[in-house]
Structures are given as C-alpha cells and as structure tokens.
C-alpha cells in the first residue's frame, strides 16, 4: 500500500510506464443479496491499455460505474494519482480527468453531434449565465474555441461532415464513435471504454483498434476497456483483468491470461 502511494507520487517521473494512475482496493458492491463486484483490487499504470473481460453479468460495467462515481461501493477504496476519489460524485471524477463511454450508449439524443461534443468541454470553460446570455467575455471566445475543438474531435472520428445531425439519427457504430469523441472532449487522462466495438462489423473493429491506439498516443491517455471481442482485447491491451461473478479471477498480460484455465472455464465456457 505505502509502496503504491510512493509510486503514485512519482507519477510525473520520467519512468512513466510504471507510475500507478488508478488503484482499486477491495472494491465491493452489493445490490440486495447480489454481490455484483466482490473484493476487487488492481492497479492501472500510466499510459497502458488495460482490458477488462468476463462473461455477461460478471460485474464489469458495475466496476466502471464504481470507478466513475455513478454508484458508491459498499466497501473498498479507489485512488487516482494518490488521491482518494471513492466518494466523489461523477462530475467531480470527470473533472479530475476520468472520462468514459457507456455500454448502452448514452448520447444526448436530441442534440447534434457537435453539441454533444461541446457539452463535454463544460469543465474546461468558465462563462456563467450572464456572460453567456449577454455575450460578454469570455463567453464568445470560449464558444468559438469550444466549437472549434468539437469540430476537430468530430474530424478525428470521421464525423465532421455530419456535425449538425442529431445524435439519435446516427447508426450504431457512429454513435459509438461519437461517444468516444465526446469523452475525449473532456481532455481526460484516463479513458474508460465500455464495449466500444459492440455492434461493429469486423473491419470496423479493426479500424477501432487502430483508432484507440492512435488516440492513446496522441492524447497521452491511459485506457481501460471492457470488451467481448477477444482478438481485439488480445491485440490491443497491455494487461487484462478477468472478472467472473464479481470476482477478479485473473490479471496479467494477454498471453498469460489467455492460457489461464480458470479464464477458459469462466469466459470462453463451452466454446473453450
């Protein structure tokens, strides 16, 4: 524990790959009689792509929800760069630089693509009600910058040409991409992606894989990823954690995890 804290203090040290960004300790969440997440502990290092896999209902999304403050753990702590963020509200977690996407896509459906991305820059802008309504500084400059940045991000995900289209009107894959663009607008240090490839066809998945890698480089991100698509996870992740019935059953580099009998039994089941 103390060693981890010491490690996290060195977060800005040149040897970044080893710095701990996120540390979950004994995270547990019960719903009534059901233990959705059961005593899960792990660390995520700066700059890595960290995969989270497990069968449906294993508690992966619940873990994401715990990490982003959407639900509170029954017990356990969560540290981000050494600071305890267990009790923070979701917007406070977001303001610290942890952004996420959702398994069942939660875009602001009636808003345009560009508005969706603009909204996510909320924490990086300041103008209040009066400045916004009366067009006083810094509102106009901020508005321009916000839109410009939003367009850049849309361009990045290849949707700049449809910036004014309402989010509900996009196809599934585009909605996923838009959600990633929105999350990036938060200028996060850590990006949590909940099944980003769901609903995409193989070639789209390939593209997505490359995209995630390039985004990580470009924005200097740490990425956590829930994904079912095993090849995608294997090819992309530096380390993989496997959840089953809320418990962490394996954690390690892909090739090690892949061979773990418990994982094969739990996750690949009959297919194994």
């Amino acid at each position: 524990m103390t060693a981890d804290v010491a490690e996290s203090i060195r977060a800005d040290a040149p040897d970044r790959a080893r710095a701990v960004v996120l540390e979950a300790t004994g995270m547990t969440r019960r719903f009534g009689g059901l233990v959705a997440v059961n005593d899960v502990s792990f660390t995520v290092n700066d700059g890595e792509v960290f995969g989270l896999i497990g069968p449906n209902g294993a508690g992966k999304t619940t873990l994401f929800n715990l990490m982003t403050g959407l639900i509170q753990p029954t017990s356990g702590r969560l540290h981000y760069r050494g600071a305890d963020i267990t009790a923070l509200r979701p917007h406070q977690v977001a303001a610290r630089g942890i952004a996420r996407t959702f398994q069942n896509i939660r875009l602001f459906g009636n808003l345009s693509a560009v508005e969706n991305v603009m909204i996510a820059q909320h924490v990086h802008t300041r103008s209040g009600v009066l400045a916004g309504v009366l067009g006083l500084p810094p509102a106009p400059a901020e508005a321009r910058a916000t839109r410009k940045k939003a367009m850049e991000l849309l361009d990045l995900v290849g949707m700049a040409d449809r910036a004014e289209t309402k989010a509900v009107n996009f196809a599934y894959g585009d909605q996923r991409r838009l959600e990633i663009a929105r999350a990036l607008a938060l200028e996060p240090h850590v990006l949590l992606l909940d099944e980003p490839a769901a609903g995409m066809n193989p070639s789209e998945k390939q593209t997505l894989s490359g995209f995630i890698r390039s985004v990580r480089e470009r924005f200097d991100l740490t990425v956590l990823l829930i994904e079912h698509h095993v090849p995608l996870v294997m090819g992309l992740c530096d380390r993989i954690a496997v959840l089953n019935f809320g418990k962490l059953i394996a954690l390690g580099p892909p090739h090690v995890v892949q061979k773990d009998p418990a994982v094969i039994e739990a996750y690949l089941g009959d297919a194994g």
Partner: protein
Amino acid sequence: MSAPDTASTPTTSPIRQQSGPDNAAHVLLDLRNVTVNYGGIQALREINLTVRAGEIVTLIGANGAGKSTTLRTISRLINARSGQIFYDGRDIGSVRPDEVVRRGIAQCPEGRRVLTRFSVLDNLEMGAYVRSDRAEIRADIERQFTLFPILGERRNQQAGTLSGGEQQMLAIARAVMSRPRLLLLDEPSLGLAPLIVRNIFAVIRELHEQGVTILLVEQNAHLALQYADRGYVLEAGHVTIEGAAAELADDERVRQAYLG
C-alpha cells in the same frame, strides 16, 4: 457436451404434441422483408427468416445487431415499418401482443423479466394466463417442477429473491406454461455461470424433443450452434449469413464476423 442432466428429465411431456410426421417441412414462422425503425435508427433491414415446425433455429450476432428487436417484432411489441410476418400461414403483422400468445407463440424475454413481486407459483400461473383449464394448468405446473426441481423447492418464494439462474429457469418455465408451438428464447445464457448455462440448454433440448419449435437468440454462438438445426447471423440489423448450424459453426465468415 455431456448428456442432459438426468435429474431434469421430465416424466411426461407438458407440451402440445405436434401431429403428423411431415411437420418438419411445415413453415411455422416466416418473416418477409421486415424492416424496423427504432429510436430513430434502422434497427432491422429487410430481414427474411423462416422457422419450420420442429426446428431449433438460432439467431446470432453481436450486441446491438438487432436480435432482440427481431423477437420483439415477432411478438408484436414493436411495429415493423414494412414487411410481413406469417405465423402458421396467417399474417400476424397487425394483431395485439396478447393475441400472438393466444395463437401459440411464447417469448422468454431478455434479462428474464420474471414478475419479481410474484411467487414462483404465481409466475407460472401467469404464464398460463391464456388458458382456462385449471386442472391441466395445475398438472403443467407440477411438470415444470419436475423439469426444474429447484423451482419446486422454491414455489412459494418471491421471484425477485431467486438467483439469476433460477430466474432464467422460471422465465423459461413460465413461457412454456402457455403451451406454445413456437418458443422465442432471448439470450437464455445471459449472465449465468457455465454450469447453469449447460443445465438450461439441456432443458431447451428437452423441450424441443417434446415438440416445441424454438427460435433462439444467443450471443454465445458456439453454444447456440451446438444445439440448433439452422442459424442466421445478424450484423447491424441485416442477415448476412444463414445456413445449417453445423456448417455455420465451421464457416470462416462466421468466425470472422462473430468469433474472430
């Protein structure tokens, strides 16, 4: 795959028996060019799908590919934008959902959706809502308890307090209680431990042997194709591949598309 758990083998069939050996050729369900718009996006595009009497047909595909939407459309929970749905030769594209059940199609919905505030017994009774033969219903409930002994042990327990696997069994048993000719199963393996999944699939096979035709939606393609006669692969609302289950299991495209 091991043989079905002997403990769960029923003594008598609770299921309406099919008549005649030529049933296998009889087309029970036929979707023709069905297109569905859902939440502003096109959820299904020109789906064509047939299920013959006595078959197990599986519909596989990734999350969001439109599998559940297909079942919901068949059960008339959502309206198709265009296309036709024939059941037993009659267009059911405009009947009410409860009428669909009356005509013999039962659905076991995704996420189980048992009536959490009802007891196990009441859930099963509700499954037989369209029937009025009280004595027969009683007998059928007892058959379910033979098929799923764990439910029998918990007959008076509130369904909300059951474990996930027990709820899934209850949901299937409840669907069967209407004595359907066609059973629509939506992701029966969702969130369940492998052992339990195996148990449930054994029951599905058992039901099939008793004469129920099954349309099975599964994410676990391996598993589904093991049990099914034929399969359809759904990608982004479109049927991309179809064929005999055994062929699909070996099909490189399926591996590409789904298993990777």
